[in-house]
């Protein structure tokens, strides 16, 4: 087992990893930017090293400084968290070359799944259903139109180097496809330095259902069930739950098998997630794989009782998974609400600032994963998620009632948050019945807006770095 680990991240996930390390008696080294000097992860770690100025490119994305800190701190492994360098194959390689264990999959698997076009091809060859779409990159406008007409509108243009909801454009007809094609390419060039795009059929209001994978170095690959992440806004998840109210046991079994096949096709090791879209008829299609721990991993942890971060560390240390697929129990229903420092009724405008007062809920079946505390100042340089509220119980009704109760107890003063939006969601009868898909939040917000025309100078806010 490792003696000391460097956590190459910040915020709640850094706290999460430090907690797992402490329970495994592993010493921790935190890295931080100047503006994060008072952050909780810095305070909890055994040691901390400042690696740069506030902007991520000056600190948390600086591979040389992180490796330097790892050497100076004499660590054996690096946990990359999510976002930042967690899916950077080059970073994983640098770790490998410097004899530092990267707690995640091999760089080859990151590469294989990081190129979304290649990933689709790999999945198709492995017999995993993929969304109907282009066979490879779409290099010009004429090809785009041909493919779109073949698949049938509506279609979505996606960046090959993107993911997590970024670099996408939906088109319902030829003119909007032409426009979307060029916009998506230039956006992709700017955001990912890679203008390669592909096209998929756009499923209207599908459910977004993902499967958690754990695989050890011996090749044993298991799934820990699904998470329904259909509640999204602009492709950013707001609420996740497991099990999905939309799946029958039959579809669940089929999807679980497909998820394992997908992971095995790239010889995956460690924790990862296979994302599917499920249409109204129950057909499911692979869209991408996330080769890292995910924000919503606590949902699966509370359903199965398995500590996914500890398993990540154990697998990286060379241990084998001590159980089989049949041993995994799905005992509870769990729901997670992402609490963001954003104003949901003002276009989700980010609200960094000082938390004047914080009171977190407690009691049976309530879990809060956060890095904030009373008096903490949320810096504007990073993403806006400040806490995750996870509630679980014997069935969905219990979990949802518990979440509504916990949301009432949760007080965050000094900034605006998405708490009111979650409360509205929990009250919605369709949501309660399990009837929702990816357009739910937009509809809920539209229904709750007062009938006032928007101000002429309003424009969509630029989100500060988004992770998923």
């Amino acid at each position: 087992m490792f003696d000391k680990i460097l956590i190459a991240n910040r915020g709640e996930i850094a706290v999460r990893v430090i907690r797992a390390c402490r329970e495994l008696s592993i010493r921790t080294l935190a890295v931080y930017s100047k503006v994060d000097a008072d952050s909780l992860h810095v305070q909890l770690a055994d040691e901390a090293i400042c690696i740069g100025d506030a902007p991520s490119q000056e600190s948390y994305l600086k591979i040389d400084r992180i490796i330097s800190a790892a050497e100076v701190g004499d660590v054996e492994a690096i946990h990359p968290g999510y976002g930042f360098l967690s899916e950077n194959a080059h970073f994983a390689e640098v770790c490998e070359n410097c004899n530092i264990k990267f707690i995640g999959p091999p760089s080859s698997a990151i590469r294989a799944m990081g190129d979304k076009v290649a990933a689709r091809e790999t999945m198709r060859k492995a017999g995993v259903p993929v969304v109907p779409g282009s066979d490879g990159p779409v290099d010009n406008e004429q090809d785009a139109l041909k493919i779109a007409r073949k698949i049938g509108y509506p279609v979505i243009v996606k960046a090959a180097g993107g993911g997590g909801g970024r670099g996408m454009r939906v088109a319902h007809n030829d003119p909007s496809l032409v426009k979307g094609y060029h916009t998506a390419r230039s956006e992709a060039e700017r955001a990912f330095s890679n203008s390669v795009v592909y096209i998929e059929k756009y499923l209207e209001s599908p459910r977004h259902i993902e499967f958690q994978i754990l695989a050890d170095r011996k090749g044993k690959t298991l799934h820990l069930g699904e998470r329904d992440c259909s509640l999204q806004r602009r492709h950013q998840k707001l609420l996740e739950e497991s099990p999905s109210p939309a799946l029958t046991n039959d579809i669940r079994k089929k999807m679980g098998k497909a998820a394992i096949k997908a992971a095995e096709a790239v010889r995956y090791v460690n924790a990862g997630t296979i994302e599917f879209l499920v249409d109204a008829t129950g057909e499911f299609y692979f869209i991408e794989m996330n080769t890292r721990i995910q924000v919503e991993h606590p949902v699966t942890e509370e359903v199965t009782g398995i500590d996914i971060v500890k398993e990540q560390i154990r697998i990286a240390a060379g241990e084998e998974l001590g159980y089989d697929q049949k041993d995994i129990q799905f005992q509870k229903h769990a729901v997670e609400c992402r609490i963001n420092a954003e104003d949901p009724f003002n276009n989700f405008q980010p609200c960094p600032g000082r938390i004047e007062f914080l009171h977190v809920p407690g009691g049976h079946g309530v879990r809060v994963d956060t890095h904030v505390y009373g008096g903490y100042v949320i810096p504007p340089h990073y993403d806006s998620m400040i806490a995750k509220l996870i509630c679980y119980g014997t069935d969905r009704r219990v979990a949802l009632d518990r979440m509504a109760r916990a949301l009432d107890e949760l007080i965050i003063r000094g900034i605006k948050t998405t708490i009111p939006l979650h409360k509205l969601t929990l009250k919605d009868p369709n949501f309660r019945r399990g009837r929702y898909s990816t357009n739910f939040i937009d509809r809920l917000l539209a229904a709750s807006q007062p009938l006032v025309p928007p101000k002429p100078q309003e424009s969509a806010p630029v989100p500060v770095a988004t992770t998923e």
Partner: protein, 157 residues
């Protein structure tokens, strides 16, 4: 003036929401201004006399405090620092048996190499980037330093 006393003054300013404090005693002049990025302090020491300690903070004459408002940082400081631009190990000399690059009291100009920071087996020569005199060596030889860490105090000319 002791560091603890300066810290105490900063604490009092925070607690009472003051933005500026200045004081003069026995040739020692101190001015602390609170800007949008935090506190900046200007300490002017008398040329030869050793640091003076204050009898009591209350006995020192203080200027009238101004209400807190965003203030730009003070224009010229004559205490500056060479800070580390990277994470690594600090070395005062190019080799274990060689003389150090600089000593206290030594004059430097912007191109003077003042130390080495070793990062990932690469020895990086760090330049002073300022013209002045080294007044204090703040980092320890062969010990790790982090980004932004103060390496040397320099009295700027």
């Amino acid at each position: 003036m002791e560091l603890e006393q300066i810290k105490a003054i900063i604490g009092m300013m925070k607690d009472n929401d003051l933005s500026e404090f200045s004081m003069e005693q026995d040739g020692l002049k101190i001015r602390i201004k609170r800007g949008p990025e935090g506190f900046q302090q200007t300490v002017t020491l008398p040329p030869v006399a050793p640091p003076q300690s204050l009898a009591a903070a209350g006995a020192a004459p203080a200027s009238v405090p101004a209400p807190a408002s965003p203030v730009p940082p003070p224009v010229a400081t004559d205490a500056k620092h060479v800070v580390s631009p990277m994470v690594g190990t600090f070395y005062r000399a190019p080799a274990p048996d060689a003389p150090p690059y600089v000593e206290e009291g030594q004059e430097v100009d912007p191109e003077t190499v003042v130390c080495i920071i070793e990062a990932m087996k690469v020895m990086n020569e760090i330049k002073a980037e300022v013209k002045g005199v080294i007044t204090e060596i703040l980092a320890e030889n062969a010990k790790p330093v982090e980004f932004g860490q103060k390496l040397f105090a320099v009295r700027v000319k």
